[in-house]
Symmetry: C2
Subunit: 412 residues, 2 copies
């Protein structure tokens, strides 16, 4: 497949087709939709997730623990599959904790981060025996109270709001004032006051941003992270046994974006492992990835219902849209709307021949899956597929909007 003009979507390089049909997890998109019985749907290629983890294992030193951030895609079949591949999970709510435990992940390898954890959520976390990444003094006080009430000794790590930022990240989450974590500069005093009779100190969670495609930026952030952890460890009441270094590994969504140079990041992690062997000898070094594990394995598939020509512009009206895939519509943190990679799943052998806009059934011009994009000439019944849709798709979309049927989710 070739667009008429550069820059292109990097995702087009990795997709496979057979007889003009997009192949997902070894099956054609038409077969998947026929067996599902209806569209729209999200299809997740479990083998692609396995391959991604295998690639990480090859590139990243074996001392690095890989964690999955369940928030990226909490579908039970996906989480259950990943449970057998990674070394732990991070959850962001009591709901995600239930999914993580149901997937069979050992509680000792689950951590819980997120600002504003409720009293009930903290109690659930302690009851389950997972590690709480505390984001404020209040959460520590709550854990003391739960310890007193339950005679358990909650495990905690301190989530640190770093004094540096992940440069060029899609989402910057450190360096300035933030709701995330405890400011690095006040952590030492807090550590000195920590009552380790009541809570077990396990380490730090330092996370500077997400969706970054620059290996140099990630390397710089990782080096700053290890340095900050070493500095903070001096005031810790016990050795650091967990150091969650976050992730931030991005995937290419938009034209011209290139995949992350994982080899470079892996090489740097080798240096960090060596360094930590001296400076933080008991620490498990954890990389937490969500989008990077599942994002490229997911496909959003909807069907063309109508083809309209309005004042010289072609509109493919589908049975899916913004309500199912908010990010692809450009309404989820994008400042300037750009097209996700989109293909006509049953016309993979046909050259793009016309500019078309792919829209949904909602009564708003925001409901736009592709804006004036070069595509093969398409008609009702054809399958529009949005690539790079495995993370922050189904759950991050307003599926009740206009009371249309929900999309299906299928693990292939």
């Amino acid at each position: 497949m070739r667009n008429s003009a550069p820059p292109r979507h990097a995702a087009y390089e990795r997709i496979r087709s057979d007889g003009g049909e997009l192949v997902i997890g070894g099956r054609t998109v038409t077969a998947i939709c026929r067996e599902a019985g209806r569209t729209p749907l999200y299809a997740y290629d479990l083998a692609a997730i396995s391959e991604r983890v295998a690639e990480l294992r090859r590139r990243v030193p074996q001392e690095i623990h890989l964690h999955y951030a369940v928030k990226a895609n909490p579908m039970p079949a996906v989480v259950g599959h990943i449970a057998g591949l990674v070394d732990g999970f991070d959850v962001a709510s009591a709901g995600e904790l239930r999914v993580a435990l149901a997937a069979g992940m050992d509680a000792q390898r689950i951590s819980f981060a997120g600002p504003g954890k409720s009293t009930a959520e903290l109690a659930d976390a302690v009851e389950a025996g997972i590690t709480v990444h505390v984001e404020s003094e209040r959460e520590i006080r709550e854990l003391y109270r739960i310890a007193d009430e339950t005679r358990r000794r909650p495990a905690l790590a301190v989530r640190v709001n770093p004094d540096f930022q992940l440069k060029t990240a899609g989402m910057k989450m450190g360096g300035g004032p933030a709701q995330f974590g405890i400011d690095a500069e006040v952590v030492p005093e807090l550590l000195r006051r920590l009552d380790t009779g009541r809570v077990e100190f396990r380490g730090f969670h330092i996370f500077a941003g997400s969706q970054n495609l620059s290996a140099a930026s990630i390397i710089e952030a990782q080096n700053s992270t290890i340095a900050l952890a070493e500095r903070l460890a001096k005031d810790a009441p016990a050795p650091v046994v967990d150091l969650n270094m976050g992730g931030g590994f991005g995937i290419p969504y938009f034209p011209g974006e290139q995949p992350l140079d994982l080899a470079a990041v892996g090489d740097n992690l080798r240096d960090i492992v060596k360094r930590a062997r001296q400076s933080l000898p008991q620490a498990r070094l954890i990389i937490e990835l969500g989008r990077y594990l599942v994002g490229e394995a997911g496909y959003y598939v909807c069907r063309v219902v109508d083809r309209k020509l309005s004042r010289g512009r072609v509109f493919l009206v589908t049975d899916g849209g913004l309500h199912h895939h908010l990010a692809a519509s450009g309404n989820f943190g994008q400042v300037i709307r750009k097209n996700y990679p989109v293909v006509i799943g049953n016309r993979m052998d046909e050259a793009p021949a016309e500019a078309a806009s792919v829209v949904g059934p909602l009564c708003t011009p925001l409901d736009l899956l592709a804006d004036n994009m070069m595509l093969p000439v398409s008609k009702p019944g054809d399958l529009v597929v949005v690539l790079q849709s495995g993370a922050y798709g189904f759950t991050a979309s307003p599926r009740g909007f206009l009371s249309h049927p929900e999309p299906l989710e299928i693990a292939v």
Copy 2:
């Protein structure tokens, strides 16, 4: 209540408090939350909706039919209440049609607009006996087929993509190429071909945009609408009995925005009624309003869970956020994020004393309900209330994001 610096939110003028407590539908926000048993919640003030309709009835000539666009808020209790106040409903999906019929609205007063109606939705509409606002040639062909199969005579109106645009509208939906309706310039030929043996022609639906606060713009659009309808009627196969002129009446969300001058719009509608009595003597003139009926009657209420100071900035971390109220977070069609009107519902008598950011529990900096806003000094347990939340709130939000509990919806 007073902000330290202009411009202010117009919504602050109309809210009421008692003993420092925001009053919604005659009850304090604290009482509402206590009885609900938990937060967050959406509270809809049914009396305020009644008052809004009464105001419209006073300002707008009695010949104008008021329709409610169910998509703005499809909560059954809200729709049921409005069914007794207005002259008809517009629905945008089969799901909304079910809500409309369950609310007791007569099928003859329900219309169905929206691009990409599915074959099943069109069959449901014909079966129910509502009027289909056809948006493409394909939809007309489908209605012919349904007519042949069912021996019914489906009622249709032609949704027109006008050749003008609603100036200064929040959402422009006409004037250029669009997925909405059939381009005005091709409608005459289409009307001449319409097979009225198989379908009943009822009229037109002409809608140029939404969320407009300028009476002058709305008046100009209404005048253009009636002129376009008169022009198109010349080629119609039967007299126009329904003319849906859309709505587009906005409500003030952001600082400095002023309420629509309804009196001016009403005066113009009087002229249009006179004119249509000559030019379209059998036509019911319909104004379709969603947001304008319910937007100001709704309140999103969440509770402060944590108060954090990070690098000089105050964060109020709540149990609600972007996942419940996407529009208030600034991620639903806003180009530049602005604050919705936000108050501390249990501190209405206290002056704003500090700049604070109201955030939710999600692991993203997008989860922001108020950015650096002057508020009374607040602490955990306090109730943050987002005003102007009755339309496109609950259903237009990604409520499954991060697997937190859903907000309640309460009609007060």
